[in-house]
C-alpha cells in the first residue's frame, strides 16, 4: 500500500511538472494570441491586461490589406515540396550510410552539416543574378530547391541517427528470412523509424516555413511566403504589437495545427518490444 501510494505521488508530481513546463513554454504564444484580440492601446497598457473586451479588428485589417491565402499557399507548397524532395534524396542515402558505413561516412556527414555554415549574405548577389538569368526570380520553384538543399544536411543527420538506433539483429533476422534491400527498407527500416522520419520531416517543414532570408529576397509579388507577410507587418512607424500578433497568429496557426496532427505519428514508431 505504502509503495503504491508513493508511486502515485511520484506519478502525480511528474505529471504536474510536465504541465508546469508546458504552460511556461506555451505562455508567450498564448500571450501573442491574446494580444491579437486587443486594440493597439490595450496591447501596451500598464499593467498588462488579462481581461478585456476582445476585438477582431486586427484580423479584419490583415485580411483587408493582404491576401493571406495566397501567402499561406506559397508557404505550404514551398515547405512541403522542399521537404518531400529532401526526404526522397535523403532516405536511401541515410539508410545506406547507417547500415553500410564506409571509412569516410562520418566525415561526409560532418561536411554536409558544415555546408550550412556558409553565410547566405555573402552569396546573395550571385544567387540573385543566377536566379534572374534562369527566370526563376519570384517563383516557388527556386524556393523549393533552396529549402530542400538547406534542410538536406539536417534531415540526413536525423535519419542517420534514427536508422542507427535500429538493432542490427532485426535486420539480420530479416535477411535470414530472405528480405531483399527494398523489402528491408520498406518492411523493417521505414516502419521502425516512422516516428523519426516524421519528426525529421516536421522539422524540415518548420525550418522552411520560418525561413526568412531567401523567401524575402528572392520573391516579389507572386511567390511571397508567410515570412514575407509577417515582414510587412513588423516594425512600421507607429504602434504595431496587436497587428503583428494577429498576423503572426495567422502565420503559425497552420503549422501548429499540423504539429497537432502529426504528434501522434511522432511517437508511433513501433516499439522494439513489440517487434521482438
Amino acid at each position: 500500500m505504502g509503495y503504491r501510494s508513493a508511486k502515485l505521488i511520484k506519478h502525480n508530481l511528474t505529471v504536474l511538472s510536465a504541465w508546469i513546463f508546458a504552460l511556461l513554454f506555451f505562455f508567450p504564444i498564448f500571450w501573442m494570441v491574446l494580444t491579437s484580440f486587443k486594440t493597439e492601446l490595450q496591447a501596451i497598457s500598464v499593467p498588462p491586461l488579462f481581461i478585456f473586451e476582445p476585438t477582431l479588428e486586427n484580423f479584419t485589417l490583415v485580411q483587408e490589406r493582404s491576401d493571406y491565402m495566397s501567402y499561406a499557399l506559397n508557404s505550404i507548397i514551398t515547405s512541403f515540396g522542399a521537404t518531400i524532395l529532401a526526404l526522397i534524396i535523403a532516405i536511401p542515402s541515410a539508410y545506406s550510410m547507417a547500415f553500410f558505413p564506409g571509412r569516410f561516412t562520418k566525415d561526409i556527414l560532418l561536411w554536409m552539416l558544415s555546408t550550412k555554415m556558409l553565410p547566405a549574405v555573402g552569396v546573395l548577389m550571385p544567387i540573385y543574378i543566377m536566379a534572374d538569368a534562369a527566370g526563376l526570380l519570384d517563383s516557388r520553384t527556386v524556393l523549393v530547391i533552396i529549402f530542400a538543399f538547406m534542410n538536406l544536411p539536417i534531415i540526413m543527420w536525423l535519419l542517420f541517427s534514427y536508422f542507427k538506433e535500429i538493432p542490427k539483429e532485426i535486420l539480420e533476422a530479416g535477411r535470414m528470412d530472405g528480405c531483399n534491400t527494398w523489402d528491408e527498407l520498406k518492411h523493417i527500416v521505414l516502419p521502425l523509424s516512422w516516428g523519426g522520419i516524421t519528426s525529421a520531416g516536421l522539422l524540415s517543414i518548420v525550418l522552411a516555413w520560418n525561413e526568412a532570408f531567401w523567401s524575402i529576397n528572392l520573391t516579389a509579388a507572386d511567390a511571397g511566403t508567410l515570412t514575407a507577410l509577417v515582414a510587412s507587418y513588423s516594425s512600421p512607424e507607429g504602434l504595431f504589437w496587436a497587428k503583428l500578433s494577429a498576423v503572426s497568429t495567422l502565420a503559425c496557426a497552420p503549422i501548429i495545427v499540423f504539429g497537432w496532427f502529426t504528434q501522434k505519428q511522432l511517437v508511433q514508431g513501433l516499439t522494439f518490444g513489440a517487434v521482438k
Binding site: 505529471v15 513554454f25 558544415s114 550550412k116 538536406l152 541517427s161 526568412a212
Partner: protein
C-alpha cells in the same frame, strides 16, 4: 559484395547534390573574398589580395564577437539539452492530455525568429510595460532592464525558448525506441531513477544528444535576426556575434568582398567548433 556496393551507391545522389550545392557558393565566396566587389561601386573591380581579410580581421569588435558567439552557442546548447532531456523524460509517462502538453511544449519552435524576438523584447522584457517588469513590481522587486543590463543573456533566453522544443522533439522521438523490457527488468531489480537514467536512458540517447548539439551549434553560430531586432549588437559590442559583425560591416555597405572574407572566417570558426564538439561529445556518433 556487389549488393553492398549497390546499396552504397545510394549515398551518391545526396553527396553529389550537396557537393554541388556547397561547392558553387563556396568557390564564389572564396573567389569574392579576394576581389574588390562592392555593389555600390560596380566600377571598382579587380583583385584585392588579402585586403578584405585584413579589413575584417583587424576589426576591433572581432574578439568580442567571437567570444560572444561561443558563449551564445555554449549556453543555448547546455540549457536546451538539459531542459530538453528532463522534459522529454517527464512526458514519457502516459497521462490525460499528454498530446496537448506535447504540442504546447514543441510549439515555440514554430514561431518565426523575428516574431520571437519582437515578442520577447516588447511584451516581456520591456522595463516599463513588459510582463517581467509587471511581475517584479508586483513582488516589490527591482525592475531589470534586460536588453541593456543583460543583453547577451536576453538573447540566450529567447533562443533557448525557441530551441529547447527542438531538443524535446528529438529526444521524445528517440525515447520511443528504448527497450521497455530492459527498463522493466531494471525496475524489478530495484534500480532508481538516476540509475535508470545513467545506465539506460543516457546511453540510448547519446546519439540523439550528439545530433542535437551539432545541429544547434550550426544554427546558433549564425544567429542574426534575434540580435538585429532586439539589441542591434549593443550596448557597445556586448551582444555582437560574428554573424552580426559580418552583417553590419559588409551587408550594410553591400561590400560582397568583405562579406565573403567574413564568410570564410565564419566557416573556419564553425569547423573548429565542430571539431571540438566531435572530440568531446560526439563519441556517441561512432559509426
Amino acid at each position: 559484395m556487389t549488393k553492398t556496393q549497390l546499396i552504397k551507391s545510394l549515398q551518391a545522389p545526396s553527396i553529389i547534390l550537396l557537393f554541388l550545392w556547397m561547392i558553387v557558393p563556396l568557390s564564389m565566396t572564396i573567389y569574392f573574398s579576394f576581389m574588390r566587389y562592392n555593389l555600390m561601386y560596380p566600377e571598382r573591380e579587380g583583385p584585392a589580395g588579402f585586403s578584405n581579410y585584413e579589413f575584417f580581421l583587424t576589426d576591433p569588435a572581432l574578439p568580442d564577437a567571437v567570444i560572444n558567439s561561443l558563449i551564445l552557442v555554449g549556453s543555448v546548447i547546455s540549457i536546451s539539452v538539459v531542459l530538453g532531456l528532463l522534459i522529454a523524460i517527464l512526458i514519457q509517462k502516459t497521462f490525460r492530455g499528454r498530446g496537448i502538453a506535447r504540442v504546447m511544449l514543441i510549439s515555440p519552435f514554430f514561431i518565426m525568429p523575428t516574431v520571437n524576438a519582437l515578442l520577447w523584447k516588447n511584451m516581456f522584457m520591456n522595463p516599463v510595460y513588459g510582463i517581467f517588469a509587471f511581475i517584479s513590481t508586483t513582488f516589490g522587486l527591482p525592475v531589470i532592464d534586460w536588453l541593456s543590463d543583460l543583453p547577451l543573456f536576453s538573447v540566450i533566453l529567447m533562443l533557448s525558448w525557441q530551441w529547447t522544443p527542438f531538443a524535446i522533439l528529438i529526444f521524445m522521438t528517440s525515447l520511443q525506441s528504448m527497450d521497455q523490457d530492459q527498463v522493466e527488468a531494471a525496475e524489478i531489480e530495484g534500480a532508481g531513477f538516476w540509475a535508470k537514467f545513467r545506465y539506460l536512458t543516457l546511453p540510448h540517447l547519446s546519439r540523439s544528444i550528439a545530433v542535437v548539439i551539432m545541429i544547434q551549434a550550426i544554427f546558433h553560430l549564425s544567429v542574426f535576426a534575434e540580435i538585429f531586432v532586439t539589441t542591434a549588437g549593443g550596448p557597445g559590442y556586448d551582444s555582437t556575434n560574428t554573424t552580426f559583425l559580418i552583417f553590419s560591416q559588409a551587408l550594410m555597405q553591400f561590400d560582397a568582398g568583405v562579406a565573403s572574407a567574413g564568410g570564410v572566417f565564419a566557416i573556419i570558426i564553425a569547423n573548429i567548433v565542430a571539431f571540438f564538439l566531435i572530440k568531446s561529445v560526439a563519441k556517441g556518433m561512432a559509426v
